[in-house]
């Protein structure tokens, strides 16, 4: 196991090198010049040149690349070009807010998705199964914006069940007061595609020979479903959940924006709009790293789900 983990960690090095090169050259090719944003409408070419010098943008391209590599290795991406805030400070202060919403959302949506998928797979082909699938398709056709706008208006403003928006300073207050509505709306959006997907994973397993054999041996349906089918179906479920984790942080930006959550998703969108390269660089590197680490965790979890799997 240890050898496998070390080998996988070692394999991350060339992948990360590819990410660094891609991000660096893509940004230099298509990204706007931040010196113009910082200088503002009323600025002379001298002021712009001075800002470019201050940001290191007047250095040769290979020097800028070396600085970037050094930043990645030291995890010190400097300060935001537009706000002057340290990039590490941005992540340290915004990530907890995002995780307060995304963490519970991921856990709850996975559990509910699996439970509903198992239930409808159990009665596959019945009117219940068909009705749930129609509901899921309908739910998937509606934009997340509609869910947020209607949910905020109805549940927070009209029924006063939740605050309309806001974010406090205590984790407990945020989790119990401000996060429930964004989590609920995130659930409403994600539950439909998750249920359909997880159902298909289960149905892929349900017609396998080993399931027929288990039934032939006289095993009851509950044991077949929960011990045999679900354990095998969990492998693609784990892959899906793990690979979605980094993207979920970025994808929550609409929830953050509507509910005034000072999260990382909103910061990333702003950074892209403002060509704030230090933040974009940090995000890309962190997300790439998180994706690789989560994939490794996912592979390790396969073995937990199915001990027959050998990690080589």
């Amino acid at each position: 196991m240890a050898a496998y983990v070390i080998r996988r960690l070692w394999q991350m090095v060339p992948t990360m090198a590819g990410v660094i090169l891609l991000v660096f050259f893509l940004f230099n090719w298509v990204g706007g010049d931040p010196a113009y944003v910082l200088a503002g409408l009323f600025s002379s070419q001298e002021q712009i040149a001075s800002i470019r010098k201050e940001l290191g943008l007047d250095e040769p391209i290979w020097v800028q690349l070396l600085i970037f590599v050094k930043q990645v290795l030291s995890f010190d991406f400097g300060s935001s070009w537009t706000t002057g805030e340290k990039v590490s400070q941005i992540f340290a202060t915004r990530l907890p807010a995002s995780l307060t919403v995304v963490g519970p959302l991921l856990i709850i949506e996975t559990i509910i998705g699996v439970v509903i998928a198992v239930a409808v797979s159990w009665v596959r082909g019945s009117w219940i199964d068909r009705s749930v699938m129609i509901l899921c398709t309908t739910g998937m056709s509606i934009s997340i914006l509609v869910f947020i706008i209607v949910g905020q208006y109805l549940l927070a403003y009209r029924l006063n069940w939740f605050p309309v928006q806001g974010w406090g300073e205590s984790f407990t207050t945020n989790l119990l007061v401000y996060a429930p509505l964004p989590i609920l709306l995130g659930l409403v959006v994600s539950i439909a595609p998750n249920t359909r997907l997880f159902r298909s994973f289960i149905l892929d397993e349900i017609d396998q020979d080993y399931v027929r054999t288990a039934r032939a041996k006289g095993m009851n349906e509950a044991r077949v479903m929960f011990i045999h089918v679900l354990r095998n179906a969990m492998i693609p479920v784990i892959t899906f959940v793990i690979s979605n984790l980094p993207g979920l942080l970025l994808g929550a930006f609409l929830l953050e924006r509507f509910f005034g959550i000072p999260g990382v998703g909103r910061e990333i969108i702003l950074a892209v709009e403002r060509s704030d390269f230090p933040v974009i660089k940090a995000v890309t590197v962190y997300v790439a790293l998180a994706t690789m680490v989560f994939n490794l965790i996912g592979d390790l979890l396969y073995r937990v789900a199915d001990p027959r799997i050998q990690l080589r």
């Binding site: 706007g32 009323f42 002379s44 403003y157 928006q165 709009e273």
Partner: protein, 391 residues
């Protein structure tokens, strides 16, 4: 601000480390979410003793309510940064925030067609404060552009026809939801130098625009679009960003130009790129805005030839204008300075350098427990002039 502060914090960090002697100190700042201000104990207390305007009943009520109070009264101010209009509006409606600037997309939920507060709000004793803001929006036309630029009569006629053909009234009515007034001059209301009696010679008049284009041989082809006097195709290009207001304006520009037979091309780019290209005189036309300048000189600098490459995005060069600008810098406020400003406005109109569009009107609402609410026309922080009653 003291020089030592700037030197200590440096260019990047000085704005996030405010140092001063004002009535409030930053207690907490969650960027992009909330700013919490606490009363500065070292700020000298003063007595609220302002005179109300003789013709303003609301002002009189505020003066009667506040006169004699020791200020500042509010110990803590929480400023919520809410980006979504719906969230702002619902937060105010559910009484979780005390006052707001009504988002333009929700203005119809607050005001009737005559811009009066709706009965549902007056019944709750919600107060309203409307003010013309110290800002202007304009579209510049690049005098160095190969299609619309130049100082010859036919190029001037082309730019003036474009300005005459753009439906500013529809922009105010539809895009700005009547929460703006037509800008008549470069210097915005409230700013010293603004002359409320000045009227621009430019009005929306597609008939006149068409006549002008016909006179200078911009002939219409079979497809209804005009060509240049030398027979080459005429394509007028505007640049804009991807935000929703710009998208709406792009459509209005298209409709307006179609009415006078000018083929329009819209190019989209990011703000930094537009700034970069604008400074290089490479953008034919783009809409910009200007807000809260404390002096007319700042805004009039926009067309000085010395600021080409800085903020003269129209790349306008006129010795006459430059001379007026020097006079403007020299003269104190008064009739002579006003005349100089009028001359500068006229030059801008005659050459078709900028098409002024509008100045915004802000509608601010506050719940009845907020007392003394009057927005300062320029200062963003005026909480030390208000009070708040316990709910």
């Amino acid at each position: 601000m003291a020089r030592e502060v700037v030197e200590h914090y440096g260019h990047e960090a000085v704005m996030s480390n405010p140092v001063g002697t004002g009535p409030y100190k930053i207690e907490k700042w969650i960027r992009g979410s909330k700013i919490i201000l606490a009363a500065n104990p070292d700020f000298p207390a003063f007595t609220w003793d302002f005179e109300a305007s003789a013709d303003d009943e609301a002002d009189k009520r505020v003066a009667a309510q506040m006169k004699g109070r020791k200020m500042p009264q509010i110990g803590k101010v929480e400023i919520s940064i809410i980006e979504e209009p719906q969230s702002t509006w619902l937060a105010f409606s559910s009484k979780s925030i005390d006052s707001i600037a009504v988002p333009p997309s929700f203005i119809e939920k607050a005001l009737d067609a005559n811009n009066r507060l709706l009965p549902s709000w007056t019944e709750q004793h919600v107060g309203m404060y409307r003010s013309v803001e110290p800002d202007i929006r304009y579209q510049f036309f690049n005098l160095k552009d190969p299609v619309i630029g130049g100082y010859s009569k036919e190029k001037i006629a082309l730019r003036r026809a474009i300005i005459l053909g753009y439906d500013v009234d529809e922009e105010i009515r539809v895009i700005r939801k009547n929460q703006a007034v037509k800008a008549e001059q470069m210097v915005a209301p409230v700013i010293p130098g603004h002359d409320p009696n000045y009227r621009s010679i430019v009005r929306y008049d597609p008939g006149l625009a068409n006549a002008l284009l016909d006179q200078f041989n911009y002939r219409k082809g079979a497809d209804g679009y005009r060509s240049m006097p030398d027979g080459k195709p005429l394509v007028f290009t505007i640049y804009s960003t991807t935000n929703s207001i710009d998208r709406e304006r792009d459509e209005l520009w298209k409709r307006s130009m179609d009415r006078i037979g000018i083929r329009l091309e819209v190019k989209k780019d990011k703000f930094p790129e537009l700034l970069k290209q604008g400074k290089q005189c490479a953008i034919p036309s783009w809409a910009l805005g200007w807000t809260r300048s404390s002096e007319s000189e700042f805004v009039m600098k926009l067309l000085s030839s010395k600021t080409i490459g800085q903020n003269n995005y129209a790349c306008f060069e006129s010795k006459e204008y430059d001379q007026y600008f020097e006079d403007l810098k020299r003269l104190p406020d008064g009739p002579e300075r006003t005349r100089v400003l009028h001359n500068m406005y006229r030059l801008m109109e005659v050459y078709g350098v900028l098409g002024l569009s509008s100045t915004s009107i802000a509608t601010r609402l506050h719940h009845p427990w907020v007392e003394g609410y009057r927005k300062h026309p320029l200062l963003l922080s005026d909480f030390h002039l208000m009070d708040i009653r316990k709910r």
